[in-house]
């Protein structure tokens, strides 16, 4: 969806993946033969849609009039003053319809599903944000919607379960495994294998088999493209540092990707360190995982010595996934993006900081990004421009935060 495309004739980090979906050694299409034909048909349909100006026009129309884009780029004046260093901007994707960046992607994929003549959508969800964003666009376009959600997550995120049902979606509980996001994704894949003819699988992040990582990225890069324009207007120049949280990595790649070929722009992805990287209870697959193959692609995974996938932990349900998008895996190995991690406790502090200094309740996911911003901003010069993606709002998390603060009080 990038109208300019990578500049021709010079080295670029933005042309990936190759025609088989590989970012270096990562990505690919590791799926059962039963799914290969439908994966190839999604790839074909997306390649055609990507070249079709009418598809982009329709996508842009709904982004503007339905999602409410562009989202503001907001200068966080009091936070900047309090931290005493870099000028901090928030990209306000929490102001989108449904309260997060997720809808950029669900809108794009729903338009593609409609173009392919698929009347039925399935999706996986962990925290329920992607499920709500999927149920929303299905209601908008009159598509049937089934969302797979782990039983444990349904209990933790009951309000989102109710939202999805209000929007007309069927929420199917997943009891296998630990009843969390990875099990929901397994269940969605198992269901898709048996319903490939009429069903489109709407994946929520830049993971899964090719073309999902590139497709979801393309739909999310509207974030970074808007930042470039808005910052040009506000400051007359490009940012110095970009910061975003990373679970699967879709909001981060959406912010980072348009700037990958600007060598002066530093980028930091912030993973969930949970109770600490040394406790084993975290979701930092890039910082503490190893390359492997899961859910259709090769990437960094939380796994044991035998290649069995381990369950992550984060207070932020949206970061609670044992893998990460393959493009991030490649960008980490290239050294283009650096990755940091933030614990549950640090994210909670950042949540409180944001609420009190800026009057914004951030989701616990971007609270991780903010915690890292609070760590680095004081040591940066006052003319250094830092943009953080505030990719979701915190309404969904108030009870989780209340519980956590109650325990520590």
């Amino acid at each position: 969806m990038d109208p300019t495309g990578p500049a021709a004739g010079r080295n670029t980090l933005r042309t990936g993946p190759d025609d088989r979906g590989h970012f270096g050694m990562y990505g690919g299409r590791y799926v059962a033969e039963t799914l290969m034909p439908v994966i190839l048909s999604v790839e074909q349909a997306y390649a055609e849609a990507r070249q079709d100006p009418a598809f982009a026009t329709e996508f842009d129309y709904y982004l503007k009039h339905y999602v409410g884009r562009p989202s503001p780029l907001y200068f966080a004046r009091r936070l900047t003053r309090q931290l005493g260093g870099a000028r901090i901007y928030f990209k306000r994707d929490e102001l989108n319809h449904t309260g997060a960046h997720k809808i950029n992607n669900t809108l794009g994929q729903a338009l593609l599903a409609r173009r392919m003549g698929k009347a039925r959508i399935i999706a996986e969800t962990g925290a329920g944000q992607h499920g709500v964003a999927t149920a929303t666009v299905c209601a908008l376009f009159g598509l049937s919607c089934t969302v797979f959600m782990g039983r444990a997550d349904m209990e933790r995120q009951a309000p989102n379960v109710f939202r999805m049902k209000l929007l007309g979606a069927e929420v199917r509980p997943v009891d296998s495994g630990s009843g969390t996001l990875k099990d929901a994704m397994n269940a969605a894949l198992r269901h898709w294998v048996a319903h490939v003819e009429d069903t489109f699988y709407l994946i929520g992040t830049v993971a899964g088999p090719h073309p999902y990582p590139v497709m979801v990225r393309d739909f999310q890069t509207v974030i970074g493209r808007e930042v470039r324009e808005q910052l040009q207007e506000a400051e007359g120049r490009a940012p110095d540092t970009l910061v975003a949280c990373i679970g699967g990595g879709s909001n981060a790649i959406g912010l980072f990707h348009p700037f990958l070929d600007d060598p002066e722009v530093r980028m930091i992805g912030v993973e969930a360190a949970g109770r600490g990287l040394d406790t084993g209870e975290h979701c930092a697959s890039l910082s503490a995982g190893a390359p492997g193959v899961l859910h259709g692609n090769r990437t960094y995974l939380l796994q044991d010595e035998e290649g069995q996938i381990e369950n992550g932990h984060s207070i932020a349900a949206g970061l609670d996934y044992p893998g990460v998008g393959p493009e991030h895996a490649w960008l980490k190995d290239c050294g283009r993006i650096s990755y940091a991690s933030v614990t549950d406790a640090e994210a909670l502090e950042a949540f409180k900081l944001c609420a009190r200094t800026e009057g914004i309740l951030p989701a616990l996911e971007p609270a991780h990004a903010l915690a890292h911003v609070a760590r680095i901003a004081p040591d940066l010069p006052t003319d250094h421009i830092l943009v953080m993606n505030l990719c979701g709002r915190g309404d969904k998390d108030v009870f989780t935060v209340a519980d956590a603060l109650g325990e520590s009080a």
């Binding site: 088989r20 590791y30 059962a32 033969e33 039963t34 296998s176 894949l189 048996a194 193959v293």
Partner: protein, 286 residues
């Protein structure tokens, strides 16, 4: 040895006997390492022509509840890749003829190290590999080292694999072709035999390899029906279910799982042997 590989030799013998084969699937390490070893050791005498052994994985995306649970039982019992190889080697000490095919997902292989995996598998006496999430688009990184080590990386064909794609899927295949007769997961529904027969014949027009059919084959009668139209019938979930049915709430066997599985496999083998073959020799020979 430059001679015929075990899988090819087994199908040549089956053809000479004028019958189709029975392929039995169990997960290595289910319900415990010791019992699993005994179950597998008893399979050839019970009538299994080819042994398919599952390498347990935490996230078996193409499998239904039966095999998911068997995988989790095996992992809870401490199954490792090294133990799976030891189990194959124990069989090879007694039986140098029955082919062993390891079936599973790529991540445990990748994590073990592909070069080390194929070397250790070959040394243990493994003959073939079925890796569910390694389609032809991605399989070279395993297929080439496996071929060098004398292992057959087998092809999976699904009902969704169309004629245009079939040559790509079968072009580099070895061992026997595994036809997944249901667009779905293991252990759920069964396909109609005429549909399976059409699919098998479609595959035979593209390859000379034997064709085994799996997914949804649960009884001796179904085994017989498949044996009439294919070169082998694969039974997995129904066997695994018998292992599970024998366990108490703590996962301990209440009876004799080796005898239970052997008796069931003997019934399945009788089904396979009873089949009136109507295609393989005609289609295969000419």
């Amino acid at each position: 040895m430059t001679g015929e590989r075990r899988i090819a030799r087994r199908f040549r013998r089956l053809r000479a006997e004028g019958r189709a084969g029975l392929v039995t699937f169990v997960t290595a390490g289910d319900p415990s390492p010791d019992l699993s070893r005994e179950i597998v050791l008893a399979l050839p005498a019970a009538g299994a022509d080819i042994i398919e052994l599952g390498m347990p994985f935490s996230d078996p995306m193409a499998d239904g509840p039966s095999i998911q649970q068997s995988s989790l039982r095996a992992l809870a019992g401490g199954q490792t890749m090294a133990r799976t190889f030891a189990q194959v080697a124990a069989l090879r000490d007694r039986d140098d003829e029955t082919p062993v095919v390891l079936m599973g997902y790529f991540n445990p292989i990748y994590r073990y190290g592909v070069a080390r995996f194929v070397a250790d598998a070959a040394a243990a006496g493994v003959d073939g590999l079925i890796v569910v999430d390694l389609p032809p688009e991605e399989h070279d990184e395993l297929r080439l080292p496996a071929a060098d080590a004398g292992l057959d990386l087998m092809a999976l064909v699904a009902p969704t694999t169309d004629d245009a794609r079939l040559p790509r899927v079968l072009g580099r295949a070895a061992g026997f072709v595994y036809y997944v007769s249901v667009a779905g997961i293991t252990g759920t529904v069964s396909a109609a035999v005429p549909d399976i027969e059409r699919a098998v014949n479609r595959i035979r027009r593209t390859t000379d390899l034997p064709v085994g059919v799996g997914f949804g084959i649960r009884t001796p009668e179904q085994t017989a029906a498949i044996a009439a139209v294919a070169d082998a019938a694969v039974v997995g979930s129904a066997i695994v279910d018998r292992i599970a049915a024998d366990l108490d709430n703590d996962g301990k066997p209440t009876g004799d799982p080796v005898a239970t599985v052997s008796a069931f496999v003997a019934d399945l083998a009788a089904g396979a042997r009873s089949a009136k073959r109507r295609t393989a020799d005609d289609v295969g020979a000419e």
